[in-house]
Amino acid sequence: MPLTGPQIAQINLFGMLDQQVMEETVREDLVRPTDLPAPPKDAIRIVQACSRPGVDSRDLARLVANDPVLTAELLRISNSAYFGLVSQVKSVSRAVTVLGNRALRNLVLCISMRDALRSDAIPGFNIDVYWEDALRRAVSARILAELARLDPEECFTAGLLQDFGLLVLLFLNPDKVEHWDRLSESTPEERRDIEVDLFHSTHDEVGLTLAHSWDLPMDLAYAMGYHHETPPEDTEYQTRQLCRVATCADWMASVYRCADKRSAIQAVRNLLAENFDASAEHSDYLLQQVAESVAEAATAMGLRIGEQATFDQVLREANLRLAEENLSYQELTWRLEQALGERDRYAEELNRELDLAREVQQSLLPDAAVRLPGITGLNLSAKAVSGDFFDYYRVGEHKLAFCLADVSGKGMNAALLMAKTASLFRCLGKGIHDPGKLLAMINREIFETSVRGMFVTMLAGVVDQASGEVTLASAGHLPALHMGCAALIDEYPAKAPPLGISPDSLFPNETFDLQGGCLYLYTDGLLEARMDDGQRLERDGLIRVLKEYASVALSERPRAITDAVVGTDGVLEDDLTLMIIEGKR
């Protein structure tokens, strides 16, 4: 069994496997760190020697000659048409002299990385298809070298190595190779999102980690690690340029591979304009060069690739030129009318659905026609449907159960959770008359199915209309206000968090006497309502308004208060709900 995604995510930034992972790996006799795909030690020695200032070319030649397979490949590739040197090289020492240290380093890296994994190393996966993809990036990067004023071979090497982290992720998670098509057909950005879901890590993170662990030169390590995100601020200009090349090369290669070619071509145009001031025509010309050079580069690198599409074929598939050149003005107008008609039909359909949803939702609120004495409420929606609700019903001769709640967010998803919570209150509340216990029960139900962190703040209570005694529990809701005729008597802030967050939350009850005053429950839409002067009402403003309208008849009061605070334009930023409970009757 290979390392899992979370384990690979623990590979630390210094390139060593996390101690715990290493121990577990060795103990369980799983994949040992040395089994990770990596260039051979001899190759790393050459790469490091090449970067050493003042290194003797004879020493370099001796190091290379130690590895006969590497030597043969080095000579073959050096003499290939793609990397064509001015003169033929027939010996290692001549190759070292003609190539120079940096080019030698790059070629050695390309060869050793290509051979780092056997073709059958990942069961069920043909590594050739990965290398074909990598080769396109390498060729694209080499083509960009002139624009970026960088060494072409260095760009080629960066392009070839930059996504090696993905190969390692697949090697460590062979059960995920079935997702290769999805990975290869997505754009570079989409692919990273898929990688996070599949592997809990991304190829650039793993690439940077591996590059550090192999002690690769900083410029190549950074090209592997920072072709999706910008490198650290203190990065040298040349390295930063190489990262830019790698970013653009990624998108250029994706034009030949991803499903949405139209977007990829546009993304390349934007990137090349932004980074290298290239025109759209020049961008397309460079893309054409990629297709023309891949086969030659594959021969040079000894890689097997399939038949390559030309840029014209890609363009035809993207339908870009066809759309631009072949559509007449009349056709465009006709298509636009069709599209607008279709949009209007969808809008009508959506509106019908929303009307139905609104109707169903209104039916969950207490029936305005059947008024109960001593209690009233009003709900105004910012959108077609609301995330707020209130409810009340009789639970005895003198007792009423009531609640008011606000679902996080707005719109349809909030309305659906509202409907569920309202149903739970009605259903469970018939048997549980203790508000705190009722909230605990509803909380567990909501928690079990909560999605996207959505939660519900809720006040639930029971009022005895004969004695004026109220028992109240709050799940993260705004403080209930106990108002007398002329002043605030008390307020009851929440003592427990909202519903849906933790399964074991407790909701303590508070019991108090309404003393002939009124209890006001409300949602934040009321506090945030903007007055005519543009200011939000907030708590003090609300208390002022409640005092002002205290003498209005109970049945008229919610409307009078909301009319006063919503402002003349009637536009609501948030759903707004207000409920008033009178004391002893």
Partner: protein, 110 residues
Amino acid sequence: MTFPVEDKQGFSVVILNGEVDLNNSPDARKVILTCLKKMKHVMVDLSNVEYIDSSGVASLVEGFQYARTNNLEFGLIGVSEAAMSVLRLARLDQVFKIYASLEDRLENGS
């Protein structure tokens, strides 16, 4: 709009700023969840948050729940007064681990 992330001392620090509301809370959600899916411990810096609505709080709650399920650490650092008053009113200060700063978390442990 996307919110920046800085890797510091074994944590991914997600920096939320300005008004976190229905318009940009999906961005906040994506940044937080991406870090957690990479199995990183997350601290959300709220020091520059001027306003946070319930959809913004929901993105924090989702991060908290994902972290709890996957045995990761999730906390809030440098919470601004505007954000703290929202969390306090809803008693979410009982739910989230809240620290003055990342240094405070490192010195005083989880």
